[in-house]
Each structure stands twice: as structure tokens, then as C-alpha cells.
Symmetry: C2
Subunit: 347 residues, 2 copies
């Protein structure tokens, strides 16, 4: 049976949830509430029922699930209220601003026996799923380096996302996604975390970061978010002993190049203005083979499908508390590394 759901917060992401939930095969959207009356007018104009207060929403006993899509600093307070009103709760990401707050949210979920999870929607992005498949397929041989970059050129949004007290900054906004993806991709403990934050357009919060993770299994991962990049570097770059894979952008355009024949004869050196190089000369075509990037289809509706089944106890929740806590603690290690200028031991 379909689950009845409501949304708290009808800004950018609240609208996104509403748009999806109107079409959902597992949820009935009963209504939304926002502290800003203008947003409620917008919702009603889109044919969505609105609540007149938070209390009215929390008192609606028909509701199975409530999604919280407000600024980050009030997720905790609202999620705990939702759980204590006897409903299952979904938070937008980043779930909250520190691991102590996250633990309080877990405690409320355990105390009330209600499900609590987070909308880590970018687990369904095809670029990530394609690269994860490349990693797991072994086509590159033993992988030793994975680089994940997200580049824009507008600085950070001019609203609460630029303010520390509301949980602004690119580490919390995009870092939380690309860290979550990397931890899902590489099944290994992390030994060391080294991170430098950028402050090109904003001093209060980071407007980008550069993060190196050294995993116990030998993989080195590099994660970068930039908002002053007028030319983008590739979204993904992965190296194994036998080949390299690249995905250039969210549309998954890219390629895989693997060695076919190590013993290349008669290497033609590259002649630069001031010298020759054989070491850095491109390989001849008959020593390499180019493969396509796997084309993946995904459906982000699977997030709500999983939540609905998890509420009924017939499936485990996909986005788990230990996963959420690991990402949060890693973001805290990044902040510590940036502050001290030193690598931080982890796990």
C-alpha cells in the first residue's frame, strides 16, 4: 500500500521532492509546510495541499513519512520532532552539522522505533554508477588512484549556503555527496585524510576543497569541489595498473584505455620546443585498446521505494546510520586537517 508523506520546507529541494512525489508509485503526497507563506502559495498553485502550521502537519495521523528539506542547521530539531510524533523521517543532505547532532537523531530513531534516513540522492547518478562498475569489473587491473571532481564557476549560492551557522559551504553541500560515493566505491578502511579548503569568493565557509584519502587497500582517492573553475577538469579519472578510465561530465561521456601490449617497440619520441621525451610519448594504437564507458540507467525513485519497503520491514534501509556517521566523521576530519595543515589519521 502507498505510504502517505508530507514535506517540511518547500524551497529548491522541497520542490524537487514534491515534483517526484506527485509521480511516485509508492507514496501519496498529502501536503507541504514551509515557514515562508510565499512558498505555500507556490505549492498551492502547483496543486499541492499545504498545512497551516508545523503542528498541524505533525498532528496529521494519516502520515507515514515526513521529508525535511529545510536549511541544514534545523534538520536535527525537525527530524526529532517528526520521529517523536510517531512518523518515519527523511532528511535532506547534509543531514546535520556535526556528528554529536547526528547521534542525537539516531538516538531519537532508536527510542521511537521509527525509521530515519537521509536523501543521498547522488548514489543514483549515472556517472558514479558507471565508474563504480569500472572499478569493480577489473578492466583496469588493480586500481590505485581515483579522482572525483565537481567544478562550477559561480562561487557558492548567495543564500544561507554562504553562512556557517546555517551549515553552508561546499564541503557540506557537495562534499557530502562525493565522499559518500567514494566510500561506497572503495570497500576499505581509510588510513589518512588530508584536506585543504578554498576561500576564493567566500571567507566564512569553504567554496571548494581538495581532499586526499589514503585507503588501507592501497587506493588513493582525490576529491575536489571547485566553484571558481571556468574550464572543467573531468568528473572522474581512474587509474589501474593496466589502464585508465575517464568520465568527462554528468552525462557520462568518456572512455577507457587499456594496454594490450606492454613491450612497445620503436617508440617515437615527442619533440617539444626544448627537448625530446620517449617516457611521455603517446602509445601507438596497436599497443592499446579503447573501451566504452558502461551506460547505466538508474531511477532515483528507488530511494522512496526502498524507504517504503523499509518502513514495512521487508527491505533494509539502503542509506544506513553507520554510513551516514562515517561520512560525517570524515567531513569533521577534513575540517581538522584544513585547520591544522596536517594529515589526520582515520579509522
Amino acid at each position: 500500500m502507498k505510504k502517505n508523506i508530507a514535506i517540511i520546507g518547500y524551497g529548491g529541494m522541497g520542490w524537487w521532492h514534491g515534483d517526484y512525489l506527485k509521480k511516485s508509485d509508492v507514496c501519496n503526497l498529502l501536503g507541504v509546510w514551509d515557514i515562508n507563506p510565499d512558498r505555500l502559495v507556490i505549492a498551492r498553485n502547483e496543486g499541492i495541499n499545504t498545512y497551516s502550521s508545523l503542528e498541524e502537519l505533525l498532528g496529521d495521523d494519516r502520515l507515514d513519512i515526513v521529508t525535511v528539506a529545510t536549511p541544514n542547521d534545523i534538520h536535527k530539531e525537525l527530524i526529532i520532532k517528526v520521529l517523536e510524533s510517531g512518523k518515519n523521517a527523511i532528511s535532506e543532505k547534509p543531514v546535520t552539522l556535526c556528528s554529536e547532532d547526528l547521534q542525537e537523531m539516531f538516538d531519537a530513531s532508536n527510542r521511537t522505533g521509527k525509521l530515519f534516513t537521509v536523501h543521498q540522492n547522488r548514489r543514483w547518478d549515472c556517472d558514479f554508477l558507471a565508474m563504480k562498475q569500472v572499478y569493480e569489473s577489473g578492466v583496469l587491473g588493480e586500481v590505485f588512484n581515483i579522482e572525483s571532481r565537481v567544478h562550477g564557476s559561480r562561487g557558492i549560492p548567495g543564500d544561507w549556503r554562504g553562512m556557517k551557522q546555517y551549515g553552508g559551504g561546499m564541503m557540506l553541500d557537495w562534499g557530502v555527496h562525493i565522499i559518500d560515493q567514494m566510500l561506497l566505491m572503495v570497500p576499505s578502511k581509510i588510513k589518512k585524510v588530508y584536506c585543504q579548503f578554498d576561500h576564493v569568493t567566500n571567507y566564512e565557509v569553504d567554496d571548494g576543497f581538495r581532499l586526499t584519502l589514503n585507503f588501507e587497500n592501497g587506493v588513493r582517492a582525490y576529491l575536489e569541489v571547485g566553484t571558481s573553475n571556468f574550464i572543467n577538469l573531468p568528473r572522474w579519472y581512474m587509474q589501474g595498473e593496466n589502464g585508465t578510465a575517464v568520465i568527462n561530465d554528468f552525462s557520462c561521456e568518456g572512455k577507457i584505455v587499456c594496454v594490450e601490449n606492454w613491450d612497445e617497440k620503436d617508440v617515437v619520441p615527442v619533440r617539444t620546443a626544448a627537448g625530446l621525451t620517449k617516457t611521455m610519448a603517446p602509445r601507438k594504437d596497436d599497443t592499446i585498446k579503447t573501451h566504452e564507458i558502461p551506460q547505466i540507467t538508474s531511477d532515483v525513485h528507488d530511494f522512496y521505494r526502498n524507504v517504503a519497503k523499509a518502513v514495512d520491514g521487508i527491505e533494509s534501509q539502503l542509506i544506513t546510520h553507520p554510513q551516514l556517521m562515517r561520512v560525517m566523521k570524515l567531513m569533521e576530519a577534513c575540517a581538522k586537517s584544513d585547520e591544522t595543515g596536517m594529515p589526520v589519521d582515520f579509522e
Copy 2:
């Protein structure tokens, strides 16, 4: 008047010097010597005179300059012999394996009053000169990030370049070039050095490295050499507050993209499989302006032209002892950082 010159070591780079010196407008190539008689046969077949021994070469009083192009571990011994025989001396790069050895070479130069310099030929590479011009032109606004990468896919050469005792490894082979270039580009002290070496195809020496330099003027530089890269990332990537410049390869193909209008209206979000993003959406064409990469011509013969004039005292030597020592000490700091896993304070 043209300077008389000889070459010790007629391998790959010795051949390169011979080929250039045959056409030089400032030097007469009097001959070469190599410990391997086969190389001498090759030289004679190319019409180049050969010496029968090192002693014969060092005893040739007609010589003004001797270029040493042997494996790296014997540069010091040979350069000191050349200087003590009353001749000016040029060493191939990397000049030697540690700063103590380099100081001994400087001491011999000072003691004998003879010029000693190093063939840092990649100061004349057009990709470097173009990027240096972009940096200095101010077209990007205040520059805060410079990335310099050199990628190949053949591992390191199978000869002495893979052995520690002969001064092998990519830090000494290519690192010495791209570090020298970066130090010329950014006129500031370095505060911090963080480096990790790669050992993908070779455990004895590094077959690549990833180096972050934090300069006192706020610039962060990232230098990377890789020999297991079957797809190359751009040779240069530079970010300023107002734009980004990229050079893709040694042939200087690339572009500069600068902002024309910060206040972009009606941003069209990028829709990925699992979400929307305005922050990372590409800018519309009317808010940016694309410039060409400056096309630079350079002539690596200027290296020998400068040495000839410096021998006559009418020009300062371009590649100076303090510059050479700074690069050597920085490479030592990289090794220390890799060994300890920690950033190293510098200068």
C-alpha cells in the same frame, strides 16, 4: 668568438647535445667521449671526432666548455674533474643526487673560478613559457592555483633510470624540470611541501609523484608526474579569481576562459540522473569570454648562447647556483614528506 666544446657521455642526451652543437652559432664541437666504445663508433659514423680517453679530453687545452651527459650518479665526480682541468662545465639534469654533492660542485666552481651550470632545457618549452605569460599578464585576475602535470604510460625507462644508486626515478628525471619551472613562475617563498611518491611499476625508485606546494603569496601549486596514465590530464591548469587557463599538451593547444558578467540571470540548472544543480551548471556564453593561449616561440640554443657570453663575462649565467640549490633542497623535502607522510615546512 666561438667556444670550443666537448661532450662526456654520448647516450640519449649526449646525442641530443651533439646534434644541437653541430648546428650551434656559438660553439665548435671538438669531440665526444663515452665509456662505451659502441657509442664512440656511433659518434664517428655521424662525423663527430672522439677522444680515446677521459684524460685525453680533459687534457685538450683548446676546450673552453665541457658538457657532462652521463648517468646522474657520476655528474659530480666528472664536473669537478672538468672544472679542475681549467674548463667551464655544464651538467645534464638532475645535476646530482643530494644537496651536499651539489655544494661540492659549487665549491669546485668557486675554487677554480670556472663557470658551472646545468642544462635545465625545459625552461625553453613553449607550454611553460605560455603559461608563465598568462600568469604574469593578469588576465585571470589574482591567480590562486596552478597545476602542472606530465603523463605517460610506459612506466620508467628500463635502464639506470629505474635504479636508485644511479639517480633514477621520476622525481629526479621530470620532477627537476617541472619544479624548476614552477619556481620560476611564482616569485614567492614556499611555506609548505606535501608529496606522495608512486610505485606502480617500480619499487626501488618512484615512477611518479603528487606534490602540493603552498607559496607565501597564497598560490597553491600542484605538480604531478605519472607513468601509468593511459589517458592524459591537461599539461597545465591555472585558476585566477576571474578565469581559468588550460594547456592540454606540449603543443600548447588550450584556451583561457574569463568571466565577463558575474551576475548571470536565469541560470539553467544541469539535470543529472539523480538531481539538479545550479551551482555546477555551465555558464552561458554571454557571461564569459574565451581568449587564445599566447603562442610563444623559443630557441633552446639560447642556453649555449648564454653560457658562451657568461664565460666571457658579458652576461650573467641564466641558470644560477641558488636556483639549482633551491630545486635540489625542494626535492629533498619531497622525499622527506613522502617518507614521513607529513607536510614539510620550507623556507
